[in-house]
Every structure is written in structure tokens, then in C-alpha cells.
Point group: C2
Chain length 260, copies 2
């Protein structure tokens, strides 16, 4: 009987022990048969990295035993978790994939650096309807209470109405106990202004720690950053066909092409 339920893969980048992934499991477990395959250690900032130059290890995990949820910890990246889950654990393509809840924002250009969003993208490449969820609070003790109804609402919509092929959602939820609602919007143009901390190690060698400040360069309104600042959860539909029409038109018009 269980076999008629949708098969739901859950992963993240903060690792299988994070409070974020536990909250996500609790929010969607009523929607089908949930299987967790998540990194055995934090993988933040790993983006869409995949492991092929070294082997991967996989262990069954008791992390969600109290919820009666099957779980596996993987030595690889979030994208590895999705690939390995499909090929070696589930032995079929899951029906849906949820990634997160990330401890920290993946809005705007942060989607490019995010392991959480890359896991959801990896699922979308496989044709699996998927959503990545993030809370704009880096703390391990972050309060996910305001995230719960949003996640459940969006997950239920995904299971009920799905998404167009080759698209997924990047959902970010503002920090705090009150969220005004949800806004479907676009990715803000923004960037990190890096400042490396230059230090000297005990052996006299110079090393550098990355620090920086996030700067929103987008003043046209209606972006994920705008709505998050106003207290709304941002819902950005995302594609991974990166072809730029503007770039195509530009080089066809302005660049020199030999007749070939």
C-alpha cells in the first residue's frame, strides 16, 4: 500500500544532523514516503560540485528513527546525495525532491554558491519537481516556526500541481517569528564585496580568510531581496538553461564573424 504514495527525496547542504532538515522532514512527511539522503558533514558553499576523483561512502542513519523515516548519510556533496540516492538507494527516480531548510539565505546570486539549491537543481535535471528552502538566519538555533506553514503550503502545491519541466523553486524565508506572506518574484542583481583577512600561520606563511559584505545592486523593485526585506518569503522559479538571448543578439550584431 505504501508503494502508491509519492516517493519524496529530502537532502540539504548543512548535513543530516541540522535542525533545518529535521524541520523540513516534519513539514512534508504527510505527503508521501520520505527518504533522507544528506551529507554526513556540512557542505555549505559547495555549489554544484560532484565527486568523481575519489570514492563516496554511505551509511544508514538513525537520525529520523523517531519519525519512522529512512535516512542515509553520505560523504559527498549535496549533488552527490541526489545522484547516489537515485542510483543506489531508491533504485528509481523519486517523484519529488525537497532540499533544505538551509541555515542562511540563498536569495539572489547566492543561489550560484549554494549546495542546497544545487541539490534541488540536480533533481530538476533528472526531471524531478523540486524546491530548495532557506531561512535567512545562519544560526544553528534558528527559529523555524514561521517557516513551517510556508513550506507545507508550497510542498502541497508541488505535489498537487507540479512544475514545468526543467524548472524548480528557490524559496527564501525571512528571519524572525512573523512572515507577512509569500511573493513570487525574480532573482535580484547583487554580489558579494569580498574582503580577505590576511593572517600569518604559526610557520610564518601568509594565509587568507574570506569575509565580505552582500550588496544589492538592483533598484528596479520586485526582487527576492526586496520582498525578504519587507518581511515576505520569496519564491523564485528557476531554470538551468543559462542561454542568454540578450547576449546572443549582442554578439550576432556586434562581433565579427568570418563567413564559414
Amino acid at each position: 500500500m505504501e508503494d502508491n504514495l509519492p516517493l519524496i527525496l529530502i537532502t540539504n547542504d548543512d548535513g543530516i544532523t541540522s535542525p533545518g532538515i529535521r524541520t523540513l522532514v516534519e513539514c512534508v512527511m504527510h505527503l508521501g514516503r520520505v527518504v533522507v539522503v544528506a551529507p554526513d558533514s556540512p557542505q555549505s558553499g559547495m555549489s554544484h560540485a560532484v565527486t568523481f576523483t575519489k570514492p563516496l561512502w554511505l551509511k544508514t542513519s538513525d537520525e529520523f528513527k523517531d519519525l519512522n523515516i529512512e535516512a542515509y548519510a553520505c560523504s559527498g556533496t549535496p549533488a552527490d546525495c541526489v545522484k547516489l540516492a537515485k542510483d543506489q538507494i531508491l533504485h528509481r527516480t523519486p517523484d519529488f525532491c525537497f532540499s533544505g531548510i538551509n541555515h542562511g539565505s540563498n536569495a539572489s546570486v547566492n543561489i550560484l554558491y549554494s549546495g542546497t539549491m544545487s541539490a534541488a537543481t540536480e533533481a530538476a535535471i533528472e526531471g524531478i519537481p523540486s524546491i530548495g528552502f532557506s531561512l535567512c538566519d545562519h544560526s544553528w538555533e534558528a527559529d523555524f516556526s514561521a517557516s513551517r506553514p510556508i513550506i507545507t503550503h508550497l510542498a502541497e502545491n508541488l505535489v498537487e500541481h507540479s512544475l514545468p519541466e526543467y524548472t524548480l523553486l528557490n524559496v527564501n524565508i525571512p528571519k524572525g517569528t512573523e512572515v507577512k506572506g509569500m511573493k513570487v518574484c525574480r532573482q535580484a542583481r547583487a554580489k558579494w564585496v569580498e574582503r580577505y583577512d590576511k593572517r600569518t600561520d604559526p610557520y610564518g606563511r601568509t594565509y587568507f580568510w574570506l569575509t565580505g559584505e552582500f550588496v544589492n545592486l538592483d533598484s528596479d523593485g520586485g526582487t527576492d531581496e526586496d520582498y525578504l526585506a519587507e518581511g515576505y518569503a520569496s519564491v523564485v522559479p528557476v531554470q538551468f538553461d543559462l542561454t542568454s538571448k540578450e547576449g546572443t543578439d549582442f554578439i550576432n550584431k556586434h562581433w565579427l564573424w568570418n563567413e564559414e
Copy 2:
């Protein structure tokens, strides 16, 4: 006088000793003051990963001394190289960035996994006109002779005509000594069908090696994969605003949204 020349940053993901990056330097060094900042070891498949949970090391390198080119080897990822170059080596935003030549294809969905393309994207986020170059040949002894005129042609166009803001180029060159020409085209819909090799380590633990087969799912024609198969170099203009109009229209129409 040198100060009036464009400042050109060169990086890659195969590491500073790769034949590909040396070829790239040779192809573009007549266009300005070239500085190489590249990983000190191979970083293939690292995608847009950035290092902030541990420090980075940077060493001056003699790798390009014979060409009189300043070079640095970095312990981090390709994206780290671009960030660190700007903040700690160049102390200004370079005028152009070239990444590669990658030993292996970054066409189609491979752009998402690629460290080479993520370095070029990181530059584009900074507003730097940039191109990532890849040869569809994984061999360290790959023959780059047919790549040279293509790279020089495109690099000269970039310096002369630039690109629209927030766009870059993903250039892939077919294997072999003859290339028919260049085609501006779109990213193919394709994916890897994974097959993990399941093995047992000397201590009795099961481990997994990623292997797989690349499958082109796109039959509409005019893609990078199509032109590469026909013997052309593919030039895909790329953006990193991932917002999907199709996904936005779909969820606005079909999903349930509470009035908020």
C-alpha cells in the same frame, strides 16, 4: 606605459600546470597585461564552490616565467581564484577574464558542474567581460592546435566589442585537429545517467565511484551538442539570472495562493 594596457585575469580548474591554461595564455597575451591566478591542484567538478570555512594559501609561481607573465597558485577553487585575485593581487577589478582551456567538454548541462565556467561566471558577477574555453578532450596531452585561432578570434572580439552586462560566453571546441568554424547557439537539454561502481575497501566497508554516460535529450536542433557533433566550436552566451518566466507563469496560474 604598461598601465594603459587592459588588465587580463586568467584562471582555470585543471590547475596552473595544465597544458590548457598555458595555451590560453599564449593565445591572448598580446591583448594586454596578463596575470594568471589558478588553482595549485586540479579542481574539476568543483562548480561554483567557494572556500570560507578554512583559509586559503597563495604562492607566486614561475610557471609562466618564460613568457614573462606574472602568475600565482592558489589552494582554493576556481571561484576563489577570481575573488582572491581581485582583492589581494590586482587590487582592482580586471578588465577581462578568460578561464580554461578546460581539458574536457563543458557544453550543455556540464556548465553547472564546471569549475572553469564558474570562474568565468564569478568574473561576470563582478561586471568583468569573460569567456570560459573548453576542449572536448580530457587528455592531458590533448592537441590544442585547432583551438588557438578560435580563442584568439573570440578574445580579440571581447576586448574590442565587449558583452552585455551580466553575460559571458561558454565556448567549447571539438576534439581533433580540424574545426569547421564557430556557431553561436543555445545550451542543449541533456543529462548524465549515473552508474555508481560499488566496491569494498580493504576494511570491508562499501564505497562508490561515480561513473556515467552523457545523454543528449534535446532533439530540436541548434544546440551546442549538435554543432560540436558536426565539428564546429559552440559559442553559448550565458546569463546567471536564473529566473524562469515559464515557471513564474505556471505557478501564478496553477498554484493556490492565499490572499495575503
